[in-house]
Structure formats: structure tokens, C-alpha cells
Amino acid sequence: MQININNLSKKFSGKSALTDVNLTICQGMFGLLGRNGAGKTTLMRILATLINKSSGEISICGINILKTKELRKLIGYLPQDFSVYPNLSVYEAMDYLGVLSEVPSSERKKVIPELLEKVNLLDCKKVKVRALSGGMKRRLGIAQAILHNPKVLIVDEPTAGLDPKERIRFRNLLCELAKDKIVILSTHIIGDIEATCENIGILDNGSLIFKGTVQELKSKAEGKVFSMNVKPDELERIKQEYIITGMIMLGDSISIRVISDVPPSDNAQICEPNIEDSYMLMIGGIDNV
């Protein structure tokens, strides 16, 4: 069970959205990182058979991407801006989408309450979709995406706008699902990836600039992360020269976290890199975000 992407490119009206992407995604959680407009949603939509590729090859569990009919049985998709007819109740929405996924009536009756329980929405099954909070809607989104028990779950920016509690609940839910599925999580929230994904890919300007494990990404910044205290009037100069990934005000000085190939000053101390440092290093600093 894996997804193979070879030399994938996508152009919109002559403008490249994805350029020569090569990637293999295996069972488990896969995180796709990248700033807004990096091409994450385009890649997700291509995998969800919603838009065509311009060139390259993709196979999902051995099935060519062009065989949409077969693939739609295997794929569950939660789009970035998921919504359902507001006048339907939670159960009605699930039932309708179940019919569209061609889940038999008897199975729907069994599976829908189970899934609603899993996403903690069983008590709200009669509540209209319009009355759900953002977090509840996302959980409903996950429930509908796995209604037909897909092998591949594609989740596009699912935690954007959620409060920390909802975000953690959502991440845990995805991890549970990844036990027997390929779950592709696209996000620009690094914390989500760090907490859930073994393997990650970073897209920047339509190109895949990194693929590997979280540890491999962290190691990219090994020996390049420093912390030091600076005076406020020095900050502008340092910003021009280095990538700053953290900043804490300490009375009349500022403690900063800097990425640099060499120690930026005598008082700079080398630090253990985190995934955020490595990500910033990969995409070339905050000015590029």
C-alpha cells in the first residue's frame, strides 16, 4: 500500500504550480509542509482526482491516477474548506455522503453511529450542520472522509483556525486512523507535523525541497542553531544577516534563536535544533514565508 509520484508537474494557464515532484508515500502519517501557495493543495487535489496533472506519473496502491472510478473507492478526502449543506443534521449529512460513496444502506446504519462516536459527535447527530462549531465541522469532515473505509485519507489543512484543545484532539484522531491507512496531512502548522508524522515532505514554490523523516529534517539544522542575547538596537542588523527563528524579550536585552553556518557572535551558544529551525532553514528564512 503506497503512493508513487514520479516527475509530477502541474501548470495553471502556463504558470507552474508543481514542478517535477518525485515522492513515495507509505502507510502511516505523511506530512506535507509548505507555506501558503507552495502547491500543497494542488498536490492534494491531484491525488484526490479532482484536478488533472500536466505531466508525470502517479499510482495509488498500484492504480494509475487516471483510473478515477477505481481510485475514488480507495480515497477519502477532507478539503481545506470543508462544509456540508447547512440545513442537514449531522446524521443526514453523513447518510447523504454515504449514499454518494455507494455505501449500502445496512452498512451506513451500522457505520455512521460508530464513526460519529469516534469523532465525538454522536450526541450531536440531530444537530443541524449550521449549528456546529469549526472544530465539530472538521471532525464531521473526517468522519465523512472515512465513511467508505478508504485506504488513503487526504486531509488538507485540517487544523487551521482550531483552538489548541481541538487541534490536539484532531491530531490524535488522525494518528489513530493512520494505523491501517495512508494519511496525508497537508499543513503549514509545523507543530501538527512534528506531533503526528513520521515522514514529511516540504514543498516550496511547487518543488519538493525535502523528503524524509522528521529526524532527517532536524539533522539538516544540526550545528547551525544558536542562541544569544543582543541589544534591541542590534536586532535590525542581525535580522538582515541571519534567519531568526525565536525571540524573547529580557528587560533591556533580547534573547534570540539564530540559524547560521558559523557562530554569529562570541557569546552565541549552540542549540539542539527543532523541526521549526530546520523548516526555516529549508525555505530560506522568514522573509520568504
Binding site: S13, T68, L100
Partner: protein
Amino acid sequence: MFNLFLKECKQLGKSLIYIVFICITIAFYTTQYYSSIKGNDPQYLGSALLKPSYVQDVEKYNKENNMYPYGSTSEEISEQVMPKATLMMYEEHMQGTYRAYPYGLIKHVKLDKEDTKKIEEIISQTTGKSLSELDKLHKTGKWSEIYFSSSSKDYASFKKLMEEANNIIGEQSNYSKENLKRFGVRPITYEEAMKTYKDLIEKDKITNGFARQFCDYMGIVMGLFPVFVVISFIMKDIKSNMKQVIYSRRVSSTKLILSRYSALVIMMMIPIFLLAIVSTFQAASFSEKLNLTVDYFAFFKYSIGWLMPTLMAVTAVGMFLTLLTETAIAIPVQMIWWYASITKGVLIGSYALSQLMIRFNTIYDRDEFVSNITNIFLNRMFFILISAIFVVASIHILNLKRIGRIDFYDKYSKCFTNFKGKFKNSLSK
């Protein structure tokens, strides 16, 4: 597929626009059909269900009651057409404006000097008098003294002159070939009245005649208002941001379109069927008083054969345009189509393939209906075919959008979005 169809029906049934559609249909039924048919209750003298009683002297009856016993009908009677048409032309000439009815709308035509002179010549030729002589006769109320020869030769040359006048004034003036016969009126005879009665009671079993008029009125509703329901229903995926969730699912485009299309057609036929039941009971209650029998299925037969093809075509075209453009472009398109059909057709007898709504604005004239049945059948079949073509095209469009094998959506939706943006900007300015 039946499951999906039921779910679509349920969703449509709950929508506000569908409730509004039902209200419009009922309002139209009440104000148009019901109000015109209720006079046929046998308790009223003018009821079509009452057997005509024989009147020996029709003219005497007319003088005493100021109406003919069995009504009157238009007929091209040269003795009546010539003086009346000429008088109208003279009066219009004096007023300086001539009436014409292109596309069913009244148009006041003003002629230039040259054309006015031509009309004057035509009036002089038909009456054999100069304009000053005619002025005198008109002022002194002696117009009837003008002699018109109604020999076939003279009438033929009169018609030629009228045709000439029609060409000068414009399409569908009072002097056009079709409108000329309206100047002639004759009383309906007892034999004709009896035939009409027998046709309605025995051949049409009352309800078949009533059903034709029912379809005539309800066709006007079905030719326009369904498009609003269709647009709202098809656009709900876009409005609710559900396009991607639905497009990525296993259901085939054929199944999805056919379920939605059939849900739209069946649900919009429901008010028609309910009104057909009401109308059948109404006709049955009329007939019971006279011990007459009715065809209980007439309203349903006519609703399905007559109204449904109109509804199917409007729904299919509306669905296709909405899917294609993701805008409400189908509304102006349907309005133009509806308007063209309603103004082009006459109340009875216009069954060309271009007629979206076919009309038969009477409960009588069974013979006229029977003589046109082939044309009506062809017309209805044509619209069923149109529906099928647009449904297939809708499936194709949805397929293309779902699989994204062409950039159709990107190109055209952007084009429409840009247009909408420009339009909004220009409005805000």
C-alpha cells in the same frame, strides 16, 4: 440510484424556493384556470355542461337579449370585413398612429409622409371616394352608406390592398391576413352548439376538454418558473462549498445527474398532479349534478404528455447552463425562451417545433385538437429529445469537471467570475 433520488427529493422538498414554486403554481391555477372553469358549474346558465336549448329565431333573440343564444364566432365574411377594416384604417389614419402586434405586443406605428400618402390611396381605392368625401361621411355618421362590392373578384383585390397596407405598417397589423378575419362575426348555430356540446360530453368526457385548458394555463408556469428551482438546486453544492466533497466520491456522474434531474422533474410535477386531482374532483362534482360521466385520468394523461415535456426541457437546459457556467445565466436565457414562445404562439393552433409551451385555450374545439394531434405529438417528442440531449451534455460536463482532464472549469469559471467582478465593481462605482 433510487436511494439517492429519494434523498435529492427530500432535500428539494425542504428548500424555500420549492415552496415558493408551489405557491406560484397554485396562485396561477387559482387566478387563471380555476376562475375560468368555475363558471361551468351547472348552476350557472352559461355552463358548458348544459345542453343547448333550441332557439327558433336567433336574430330576434339577439335583439331582445343583445347576444346570440349560442354565442358568436369570427369568420372572414367579406360583407363585414370590408367596411369594418376600412373604417378602422380610416380612423387610425386620422389619429396618425396604426396598431400592430408583433410578438403579441401592441406597437403604435407612426408613418412618414410618403407611407401616409400610400395609406390614403389604399383607403380611397377601397371606398372609391376621396379623403375629403370620407371625412364628411364620417363626421355625419354616414359611413355605412359607402358601398362595398363583395364579389369574390372585388374582395380579392381588397385583400391585396390590405396586404399592401400591412406591409407598410408592419408585421401583424390589423390588416394582416390572420387579423382580417376578426372583423367578421357570425352567430353560432344550434347544430354547431350541439356538436360542441356532444364533443365535450361524449367524446371528451368533460375532463379531456377541461384538461386541455388546464395544460394551456399551467404550461405558462412550467415554461418559466422551474428554472429558478433548478438553479438553486444545482448551485447548492457551490454555495455550501460541497463541490469537492461530492466530486471526490464514488458515485458516477451519470447516477448523480439522473438522480438530481429526475428529482427535480418529479418534485415539480407533484403540485401539478395535486392540482390535477383537485380539477378532476371539481369536474366530477359538476358532472354528478347532471348524471354525466367523466374520464378520471384525463388530467393526469394530459399533465404527463403535455406539461411534462416542457418541464423536462426547462429543467435540462437550466441544469446544463448552471453546471457549465456556475452562474444564474439560465434565468435570462429561460426568460427569453419563454417570452419568445408565449408571444410567438397563438392561443390555439401553433404547434411548431420551436414552441416550448403549446397552447389550447378552450375546453371546446376537440376537432381542432384532433386535427393537430400529430403536430402536438411531434412538438412534445422534440422537447423530450432536447431534454435527453441536455441531460447527456450535463453528465459530460460534470464528468469533465470531476476528473479535471480539461481545464474547462478554470478557463470558463474565471471568465464568468471576472465578468461578475467587473459587473459588481461597475455597480459599486
